[in-house]
């Protein structure tokens, strides 16, 4: 598939301690994986070592439905990275996942960059693979459902 933003932005990689590795492995296989506490069932995002509710370290990577609602958004016009110079506006959305107690994720909203963006609107994930990048990686984008 095509990419939403131009090539040249920083490529995401797991930390040296490997905390987020299962997330990146998951999205490469088009599965949206987040953590869930095995003691109290709290959903945890972004990746962390401990449950912020009960302090259990027993967090399991759990697949969640790739469906969300737009919680907030912004349209970026001023480029702050050389790769974005001359690209024009783009939309960043903050979405919440009803299937995981409304944890929030950041992505781009695919489609016309000048479209009206409905807060509360339903979106679904689109896995944007960058297989020829070094290292290869997958971004999770969103489109109106």
């Amino acid at each position: 598939m095509t990419r939403y933003l131009p090539e040249g932005l920083a490529i995401p990689v797991p930390e040296s301690d490997g905390l987020s590795q299962p997330y990146w492995d998951g999205v490469a296989a088009e599965r949206l994986m987040v953590q869930r506490c095995q003691n109290c069932q709290t959903w945890v995002w972004g990746p962390e070592w401990i449950c912020h509710s009960c302090h259990s370290f027993d967090l399991a990577w759990t697949e969640v439905a790739p469906k969300a609602r737009i919680y907030s958004w912004e349209r970026v016009w001023h480029p702050v990275h050389p790769a974005l110079k001359g690209h024009g506006p783009y939309i960043i959305v903050l979405v919440e996942l009803p299937g995981a107690d409304n944890i929030r994720m950041i992505g781009n909203l695919l489609g016309d960059p000048k479209q009206d963006v409905p807060i509360g609107g339903s979106v679904e994930a689109v896995f944007e693979h960058h297989k020829s990048a070094n290292p290869p990686h997958t971004l999770v984008q969103w489109r109106l459902a």
Partner: protein, 393 residues
């Protein structure tokens, strides 16, 4: 047990600044700027710089107190303090930390300082140019979310959505800063007024913010001398007593990937009540407010969270006339602030708050007894403080 409070225990006795330059244009090195501001503050306080025995700063200021103390030949170093994190959100916290040191006898004369020369170092408003990225930024930068404006715009967008706040409210905040800068010869935007039409015609940086909703980036330095309250009475200037200071943020504010539960906020939900409680002040008693404008949306939410108006009243309250010195309901950013005076990471706002108590501001509010500063909204930790004249003690 006595009440644990900073109220009335410490005072600002000296203020000092350097010339403020456009970013990258300082003729002086960042370390030299820090020294110049500190010397200016010491002179203002009427003290020998060698008697400074403590240093407090924030946002990982690069100018190490041990080096400054050695360079100035101070007699001894007793307090060397850095407020972790939060960028400009640490400005009031640094004053509070300095006051805590002198109030508890850890030091006798602490200088709060901040120095920036962005030509010498990287700019704030640019994204990182690195081949790979990990941790929380790996969930953001690949989507083009890199700069401070991009990091915080979605908080404001949601707040405006929830409370039907119009862009006019943001515009009024910007116009107030530019209005006050026209009376301030020190201001970078002195002689460059801004009106509604020019604001409306300005380009978007990131919606909901236009160019004039965003702070400048400047080179320069600022410093304040904090001493015990009893000592301040015998010093050259009318003392500005610290009535209260607070720092921090509410529950899980720093949760990764924008998962702060109380997201659509400036992050003062707990910090504002803590400040008012220590200071013994109500919002209606604040005579003049300096509220850090990284972006106007941060000021909007700060003003609401500090109880100056309800969210639903923001459209009516945040109009230019209400925000102007001397007669507005809430004179705001009376030097021109980060938008139009100088972006000295908000420490220039602390200095302006002191001028208002002394009666020496270029847009002076009449008979100021309670002068308040809100630092760096939307970051974590944020901070705030209230200064008072002797009449408030």
């Amino acid at each position: 047990m006595a009440t644990r409070t900073l109220r009335g225990q410490a005072a600002v006795a000296g203020i000092g600044e350097t010339t403020c330059y456009k970013h990258g244009q300082s003729p002086d090195a960042e370390f030299k700027l820090a020294l110049m501001a500190i010397l200016n503050a010491a002179k203002d306080a009427g003290i020998d710089p060698k008697d400074i025995d403590g240093f407090a700063s924030y946002s990982n200021d690069r100018n190490d107190p041990s080096r400054i103390a050695a360079a100035l030949g101070t007699k001894e170093l007793r307090f060397s303090n850095m407020q972790w994190g939060g960028g400009g959100g640490g400005g009031a916290a640094a004053v509070g930390n300095a006051a805590a040191a002198v109030a508890t006898g850890m030091a006798d004369c602490v200088v709060v300082f901040r120095s920036l020369a962005q030509g010498q170092f990287a700019r704030f408003g640019q994204g990182p140019q690195v081949p790979t990225i990990s941790g929380d930024m790996a969930m953001q930068a690949p989507y083009g979310l890199m700069s401070p404006a991009q990091r915080y715009a979605m908080k404001c967008m949601r707040f405006m959505h929830d409370h039907d706040v119009r862009h006019d409210a943001l515009r009024a905040i910007s116009l107030a800063s530019y209005h006050h800068a026209q009376s301030n010869p020190r201001a970078v935007m002195y002689g460059r007024p801004l009106d509604e039409a020019a604001y409306d015609a300005s380009r978007w940086i990131v919606e909901p913010w236009r160019l004039y909703d965003c702070c400048m980036e400047n080179d320069g330095a600022a410093a304040l001398i904090v001493v015990p309250a009893e000592r301040a009475k015998d010093m050259p200037h009318k003392p500005s007593y610290l009535l209260g200071a607070a720092a921090g943020s509410d529950h899980r504010c720093g949760a990764p990937s924008h998962n702060h539960p109380n997201y659509a906020s400036a992050n003062f939900a707990s910090v504002a009540p803590n400040l008012y409680r220590m200071a013994g002040v109500k919002p209606s008693e604040v005579d003049v407010l300096q509220s850090y404008e990284n972006f106007t949306g941060g000021v909007l939410m700060s003003i609401v969270e500090h109880g100056f108006c309800q969210p639903e009243e923001a459209n009516d309250f945040l109009v230019k006339d209400n925000l102007l010195a001397p007669g507005g309901k809430l004179p705001l950013n009376t030097s021109g602030g980060n938008l139009a005076e100088c972006y000295m990471h908000g420490l220039e706002l602390q200095i302006e708050a002191i001028r208002q108590i002394r009666g020496t501001a270029t847009s002076q509010v009449k008979d100021v007894d309670v002068s308040m500063v809100i630092a760096g909204p939307m970051v974590t930790p944020v901070s705030n403080c209230i200064f008072g004249s002797e009449a408030t003690l």
